[in-house]
């Protein structure tokens, strides 16, 4: 176990290092100067040079990268007027655009993205597994057909199309819901849920289709396995076989997927966040890329990598927990 963890963490650090290097490399290629944006209109060359120095972007990119790595491990001091600002480790720097610490920005966004991901995941699990079971058990022909059709349709709708339709239906035509605006959970749980409802649903429709398909094929495959025949031969009731054995076998892959998909939504739901104005991680990144806000872009990339690495590890641990055959190595 210890060995597993050490190797896992080592691998994760390598991936993260690779990712940040990649991002720095990409921005090295980008022909843009963040100082010009910051300096503003009518900035004289002399002033631009001063601003560049104050922002720490006057060094060559490799040097900047080295300072960044130093800050990450040991913290960093920034000139900030009368005093220096100390940015404690892990220091990701300050946003070029708003001058906030990147760590603060990230911590601010994570709950939003996490709420979005978790809610969408719960919805898709409930509906996906439910639909998949109905289809997998083949109890009702019609239902099976309907679910199959829905699964296919779920694959065929892009999230922004679902989002548009939902907005059109519920906010414009029926006016059952206000246009979503993010409200923190701590401010008003009811409003929070109300405003997240549409984003959840639009993400869940697609995700549920994937889960339904997996559940359905999982159930059918497990039911064809030998140990189900053994159970039948020993008189275990069909209901028990279904719930205790077939479902368990079918849901195993979902356990792994859940962790990975939560990470996927947290880091990749750019369209949903943009459509519904959710101040999540994806939106932060898109905004930062547009503003060439390098510290934020690097910070989000690191966070993305971290979330994915953690999710993968969580998936492995979960899998080992639910499947006795799996050993961590």
């Amino acid at each position: 176990m210890t060995g597993y963890l050490i190797r896992r963490i080592g691998g994760a650090l390598l991936v993260l290092f690779f990712l940040t290097t990649l991002v720095y490399g990409l921005f090295y290629l980008a022909p843009s100067d963040p100082a010009i944006l910051t300096c503003g209109k009518g900035c004289t060359p002399e002033r631009l040079a001063d601003v560049r120095a104050a922002m720490g972007v006057d060094d060559p990119i490799p040097v900047q990268y080295w300072h960044f790595l130093e800050g990450l491990v040991a913290g960093r001091d920034y000139p900030a007027g009368p005093d220096v600002r100390h940015c404690p480790a892990p220091c990701l720097g300050y946003s070029f655009e708003t001058d906030q610490p990147v760590t603060t920005l990230l911590l601010d966004r994570i709950p939003v993205s996490f709420a979005l991901a978790l809610g969408a995941e719960v919805l898709s699990l409930v509906f996906g597994i439910g639909a998949g079971m109905l289809a997998g058990l083949r109890r009702f022909r019609i239902l099976d057909r309907v679910v199959n059709a829905l699964i296919l349709a779920g694959y065929a709708v892009p999230v922004f199309l679902v989002g548009l339709l939902l907005l059109l239906l519920f906010c414009v035509h029926l006016q059952w819901l206000p246009f979503p605006t993010y409200v923190p959970l701590t401010t008003d749980p009811l409003l929070w849920a109300q405003n997240l409802l549409l984003p959840w649903v639009s993400l869940a429709i697609i995700q549920a289709a994937v889960y339904a398909r997996l559940t359905r094929s999982g159930i059918q495959e497990t039911l064809a396995e030998d140990h189900i025949r053994t159970a039948r031969a020993y008189g275990i009731p069909e209901r028990r076989i279904l719930w205790r054995r077939a479902l368990r076998g079918a849901l195993l892959p979902l356990v792994t997927l859940t962790a990975i998909d939560i990470a996927g939504i947290m880091t990749g739901a750019v369209l949903t966040e943009t459509m519904f104005g959710l101040p999540g991680v994806g939106q932060l990144l898109v905004g930062a890329v547009r503003q060439i806000d390098l510290p934020v872009v690097v910070g989000v990339t690191l966070l993305t990598g971290l979330i994915i690495v953690v999710a993968n590890a969580a998936a492995d641990l979960l899998y080992a927990a639910v499947d006795p055959r799996v050993q961590l190595r």
């Binding site: 190797r7 140990h227 025949r229 053994t230 008189g235 275990i236 076998g249 006795p324 055959r325």
Partner: protein, 525 residues
């Protein structure tokens, strides 16, 4: 008193009749063997006893202790009064439940016992099937058991509810010969101890010979012959029974003086590194082959025998240069084998389906080594080879899945022959075939060997097959050769204890001899 009376049983899957008017009976506490090749309907019969067919039409009557299981609800009988032991012990157990829980679940279901009592019963029956430390092992998952132990666990599950009939469907097919013998002995012991009747289904006459009092021989869904074991096996009346018995390998008669050494193995080792688990320290490697030295001489047939995991397949693959040895040398005509691939050494594989590319015609598959050897238009030679292994030229453009298992193995042999090799290594070439097909393929190999004079390495787990075909035999255990010598000497005067154990475990078709061997085994245990 008759426990089970099957009368005119018919099982149809759609248009196909799997069982067609089968009748037999079994006394309480008695034992009956059903023997037949694949597709004879023997497994379908077993499943019908418990009403386990889902999409088949079953007619006739199955009278179990006064109840007709064809018409009555079979569910109360399942596990409680009739218990089944299946073929694949790994997949037959639920991988997510501990062995003890699975047995306890069945026991509680049929007896309504408390959790604690069920658990105790599970431990008790696990003990009865000789699982060491049953109280602890009851908490293990199936994958933590070896194949033999899993089969024991299944038998434990079968006896948990004290059934009156145990149906064992090919209970030993996937197991090594020594383990097979143990399981058969266990079934015999269980029957004696619990008084349950045993219905033993197998393709192997040898398996049935030692364990069943009477035998039914099935073919195409019908019983071609039935009677007491002695009667059927020693004085078969039906032609098919005789053919089956004739197909059982007999000791070979060829006496051959080996020529010059062709393939020389010197202290060959193959170690596979194990993945790190748990600790950071590197675990010791798996020593698949661990110091083998032997020669294969021109024109001779060397048999290599070993159970699963003894490294015999790795050894065979090293002999043709597919797997490089970790250390030691393998030379052919004094040249490293890695540089002699292709023309001089060829290989015939165990699973003829897997050894042929499903997306290429068999003619193409045979032509491939010829093309590699530089032949421009190999079609004529391929047709000649097909003819030589007993296949029509028209088979050239057919695909592997369109052929039977025996035909596929003939294709595999033809491909091996194509570049006219001086040595052919056969890795279990007949073990996946039915006994009659097996005899035909063995005969073909012997014939070709006589005609073409190549040397042969014949790897097998089946001592009987080797006794028929090999000039010399090497016995492999834990990656090393424990005994090597002339076939007759090894079989008649085995020196190594392991060889003796192996020989004692070989199933034989003579009931008396089978009983003698069983007594011998229980004496040594």
């Amino acid at each position: 008193m008759t426990l089970l009376q099957v009368t005119d049983l018919r099982i149809c899957f759609g248009d196909k009749r799997a069982v067609d008017g089968l009748s037999f009976s079994l006394e309480a506490g008695g034992s009956l063997g059903i023997v037949g090749e694949s597709g004879s309907g023997k497994s379908a019969t077993a499943l019908a006893l418990l009403g386990l067919h889902q999409s088949a039409v079953v007619t006739g009557s199955i009278d179990f202790d006064g109840t007709d299981l064809v018409t009555a609800d079979p569910r109360p009988f399942r596990g409680a009064r009739i218990a089944m032991v299946f073929q694949e012990p790994l997949t037959a157990l639920n991988p997510f439940q501990t062995v003890g829980d699975q047995i306890a679940e069945v026991y509680r279901l049929h007896t309504g016992a408390s959790r604690r009592a069920a658990r105790a019963r599970a431990v008790e029956v696990l003990g009865q099937v000789h699982i060491p430390d049953p109280a602890r092992r009851a908490s293990a998952y199936p994958h933590q058991f070896s194949g033999g132990m899993r089969q024991r666990a299944l038998i434990a599950m079968a006896i948990a509810c004290r059934p009156r009939l145990i149906v064992a469907d090919e209970p030993t097919t996937a197991l090594d010969v020594t383990v097979q013998a143990q399981i058969l002995d266990l079934l015999d012991e269980v029957r004696a101890r619990t008084g349950a009747a045993l219905l033993l289904i197998s393709h192997d006459l040898g398996v049935v010979a030692g364990s069943a009092e009477s035998v039914v021989v099935m073919r195409d869904g019908r019983a071609v012959e039935s009677g007491t074991t002695e009667q059927v096996l020693l004085a078969p009346r039906h032609e098919y029974t005789r053919a089956l018995l004739a197909a059982v390998p007999k000791p070979g008669t060829r006496s051959f003086e080996p020529g010059e050494p062709l393939l020389r193995l010197h202290d060959v080792r193959k170690h596979f590194p194990q993945p790190r688990r748990g600790s950071l320290r590197k675990p010791p490697p798996i020593r698949a082959v661990d110091g083998v030295s032997l020669d294969v001489c021109a024109g001779e047939t060397l048999g290599i025998v070993g159970e699963s995991g003894t490294g015999k397949t790795t050894l065979a693959r090293m002999m043709v240069g597919l797997v490089p040895p970790t250390s030691g040398s393998i030379t052919f005509d004094g040249v490293d084998i890695a540089r002699r691939r292709g023309r001089s050494v060829q290989m015939v594989f165990q699973d003829p389906l897997s050894s042929l590319n499903p997306r290429r015609s068999i003619g193409e598959s045979i032509a491939d080594p010829l093309r590699l050897a530089g032949v421009r238009d190999p079609r004529a030679r391929v047709v000649a080879l097909l003819d030589r292994v007993g296949l029509a030229a028209s088979e050239y453009d057919r695909y592997p899945h369109q052929l039977s298992g025996g035909m596929r193995q003939r294709v595999g042999i033809a491909r091996a022959l194509a570049p006219a090799p001086r040595l052919i290594v056969c890795d279990e070439p007949v073990s996946s075939l039915d006994v009659t097909t097996q005899a035909q393929v063995l005969a073909l190999i012997e014939e070709l060997r006589e005609e073409l004079g190549f040397a042969l390495v014949f790897v097998s787990h089946d001592l009987a097959v080797l006794r028929q075909i090999a000039d010399r035999v090497a016995v492999l255990k834990d990656g090393a050769v424990v005994e090597i010598g002339k076939t007759s000497e090894v079989y008649e005067q085995p020196r190594h204890a392991y060889t003796k154990e192996l020989l004692a475990a070989v199933p034989v078709t003579d009931p008396a001899e089978a009983r003698r061997l069983r007594a011998l085994r229980s004496a040594t245990n």
